[in-house]
């Protein structure tokens, strides 16, 4: 068994949300003091129950072993960032304790303390010192940092003249060369262009493989799944699950949609986009018999239905459905034909659009459905990311004894095989899907 890196014990953090802002004026504070004198009660216990105070973390306990790469996931406001802030000593817990075994470096933001008037070279030293590097350490790694950032030519230019891409590259380069025993990282990889993001992820992978302990907050399930050895799912300031990253991601995605294969989209959903002239008000997944479900068998029928309101004013529209894995790979992107005809219009003026996938070949695992409608390809009416989640199961399919894991593939499509002796016509054809598997 390896040694501990962190032991988090009943950690809680109370934030008081001021009535008007994060800080008080002197007059308000004096006022409060006077009122408190007159009230004369043990206001300390009562304070915590006031609606202005919220527990960002409540009784959080977990252990992290050295060498683990732990992903922390959860919705906005679940307490992920507060947790990192306490672990990196930026703020104190209200209750509980954390035992730390090793030198901690934290990276909650890239480019912390960069000064626009200073040159690239000067900022490397300043930023390095702020992140806790010694001057000798920065000297030693200086060339590496510059090479990583690809900004050799502009080393003596004030960073205020840098393009934002160059700025981020330099900022990340310094941070990437930080070498603490325990590294805390908050959603910082989502900067820069795709090429640079890959480079950053690669660097994170190196750090992870070098045996250092890493705690990593991210909304990118793909990076959590590829980089982490374990994960913690946070919900409402508490640990909802700790374990393998896949298990946490599944629970996280399932938490987005608690309902079984159907969801009411009348109320606003996070990240929704579009003009809203017509809106998707409900969506569901059903099997061959029209029964809503969130579990399907590979090669079975999958029907995606959405109810749309406000269609009376819009003569024709388009729809697309995207299905992606929990790690963020879009496997299916299904555009509708250019002019959808209504399958049914009910009395309330709502219409139902149905997309049927007769033999859905998605490999076993969890999937997320995003829905989009538009007047045409450029005029968006409504976009609902992560509207539905479902899981695929291997079911009756044998796949000839192969394990149908996402490690091997993502989609099974109709195919046929043949074999022949050299020099002769094919004598036998083995259709695989339609005949053998699906009944």
């Amino acid at each position: 068994m390896s040694a501990l890196a962190f032991r988090v014990n009943q950690l809680s953090k109370l934030y008081s949300l001021g009535r008007r802002g994060p800080y008080k004026t002197l007059r308000e504070s004096l006022n409060d003091t006077v009122t408190r004198c007159f009230r004369r009660s043990n206001s300390k216990t009562r304070d915590a129950d006031l609606p202005e105070n919220i527990w960002a973390l409540k009784d959080v306990s977990f252990d992290i072993l050295q060498g683990e790469v732990v992903g922390i996931i959860g919705r906005n406001g679940a307490g992920k960032s507060t947790l990192l802030k306490i672990l990196s000593r930026i703020t104190e817990p209200t209750q509980g304790s954390v035992e730390v075994y090793g030198r901690v470096g934290s990276l909650l933001e890239v480019g912390t303390g960069f000064h626009p008037e200073l040159t690239g070279r000067e900022n490397i030293y300043l930023n390095g010192a702020i992140l806790g590097m010694k001057r000798t350490e920065i000297n030693r790694r200086f060339d590496e940092i510059v090479a990583f950032a690809e900004t050799e030519k502009f080393l003596d230019t004030p960073v205020k003249h840098y393009s934002s891409g160059m700025y981020m590259r330099l900022a990340f380069a310094v941070a990437a060369h930080l070498e603490p025993e325990i590294l805390l990282v908050d959603e910082v990889l989502s900067v820069g262009d795709a090429a640079f993001q890959n480079k950053c992820l690669g660097k994170m992978g190196d750090v992870a493989r070098s045996g250092r302990t890493v705690l990593f907050v991210s909304h990118s399930m793909a990076s959590i799944a590829t980089l982490c050895t374990s994960a913690i799912l946070m919900r409402d300031g508490a640990v909802a699950h700790q374990g393998r990253p896949e298990a946490c991601i599944d629970q996280y995605l399932a938490g987005i949609n608690e309902s079984k294969g159907q969801t009411d989209l009348r109320e606003g959903k996070e990240c929704r986009r579009g003009s809203g002239d017509a809106r998707i008000v409900a969506a569901r997944l059903t099997d061959t018999y029209g029964v809503p479900s969130d579990r399907f068998e590979c090669q079975g029928e999958l029907v995606i239905e959405m109810e749309i309101e406000g269609v009376a004013q819009i003569p024709s529209f388009l729809s697309t459905i995207a299905i992606r894995t929990r790690t963020g790979i879009t496997v299916l992107h299904l555009p509708s034909p250019p002019d959808l005809s209504w399958s049914s219009i009910n009395t309330s003026g709502a219409a139902t659009v149905r997309c049927r996938i007769p033999q859905c070949g998605l490999y076993p695992g969890s999937y997320v459905v995003s829905l989009w409608i538009g007047k045409n390809a450029h005029q968006e009416l409504d976009w609902v990311p992560d509207a539905l989640t479902f899981s695929m199961e291997q079911g009756a399919l044998t796949s000839y004894g192969f394990d149908m894991s996402w490690r091997h593939g993502l989609y099974l499509c109709e195919n046929s095989w043949s074999s022949a002796r050299c020099g002769s016509e094919p004598d036998v054809e083995w259709p695989t899907m339609a005949g053998d598997f699906v009944h």
Partner: protein
């Protein structure tokens, strides 16, 4: 199973005991150095006159004082030419006023650092205070030239100058500790500082000698540590002063009290800086 070593660190709510932990500030001395260096490098960037400002500020103030207090109001100057008399006091005063203003605003100005990285927060007002030394050094050269011009030679007492310089920095830092920590919580402080430095200037014998104060009250005058500093500077540089002795001892005691309470208040508030700044 490997025997579990002791934790390097335990994070928990601070118990309210007075822990200074100055050793940690020493560990972060490189950060202190880099923050100072940044402040100095950036100070006169994109100004037309650049470091000339460091010369102009005390020189112009000295001229104004010389005309209004020396010439028109005929304020006595202990037998020293008034311009030198004023400049020798303006030197530590401007160091103090600048360091105080900068350090008081330093925590709020470093908001982005405080909410994103851990380091002993003491480093921030310390760096802001010490960065004022560069302007002081430039102005000091101006004083030496002035003294040469008036034919005044420094006495052997000049060896005590570093002590008074230290006292000035300690005064600025201790007031800066109080004000910067208060400023995090109450932004009112920012608007108070210009008035504070103005009133403090009148309470300090910069434009006038402390010999104007009736003798029995003079020691009490030392409760303002800058009175001790200014008189100390005049004594160390020009060899003449009425301020040393009881006044200085009172000033030193006042600085110590202010510094220790300031450190204590700062440490107490430190835990919540990131939450309320």
């Amino acid at each position: 199973m490997a025997t579990q070593t002791m934790p390097v660190l335990v994070l928990q709510p601070s118990s309210g005991w007075f822990r200074l932990n100055l050793g940690e500030v020493w560990d972060y001395r490189e950060l202190l150095y880099f923050l100072m260096w940044r402040d100095i490098k950036v100070r006169y960037k994109q100004t037309a006159l650049g470091a000339v400002w460091a010369v102009l500020q005390p020189t112009l103030t000295m001229l104004v004082f010389s005309i209004f207090f020396g010439r028109l109001a005929k304020v006595p100057s202990d037998g020293i030419p008034y311009p030198i008399f004023a400049f020798a006091a303006l030197l530590p005063w401007q160091l103090f006023a600048f360091a105080l203003t900068e350090s008081s605003n330093s925590l709020v100005a470093s908001q982005n650092l405080i909410t994103k990285v851990y380091f002993p927060r003491l480093v921030v007002p310390m760096a802001a205070t010490f960065a004022a030394l560069v302007d002081f050094a430039v102005a000091f050269v101006v004083l030496l030239i002035l003294m040469l011009f008036y034919g005044i030679h420094p006495t052997a007492a000049i060896v005590f100058l570093p002590f008074f310089l230290l006292l000035a920095l300690a005064t600025a830092l201790s007031a800066g500790l109080w004000l910067s920590a208060l400023n995090v919580k109450y932004r009112d402080v920012r608007y108070t500082i210009p008035f504070l430095t103005q009133f403090w200037l009148f309470a300090t014998p910069v434009a006038y000698p402390s010999s104007l104060i009736p003798k029995p009250w003079r020691a009490l005058f030392g409760l303002n540590p800058m009175a001790g500093v200014v008189e100390g500077f005049r004594w160390a540089l020009l060899g003449k002063s009425n301020g040393t002795g009881p006044l200085l001892l009172v000033s030193i005691a006042a600085v110590l009290v202010l510094l220790i309470t300031g450190l204590r208040y700062f440490r107490k508030m430190e835990a919540s800086f990131a939450d309320i700044v």
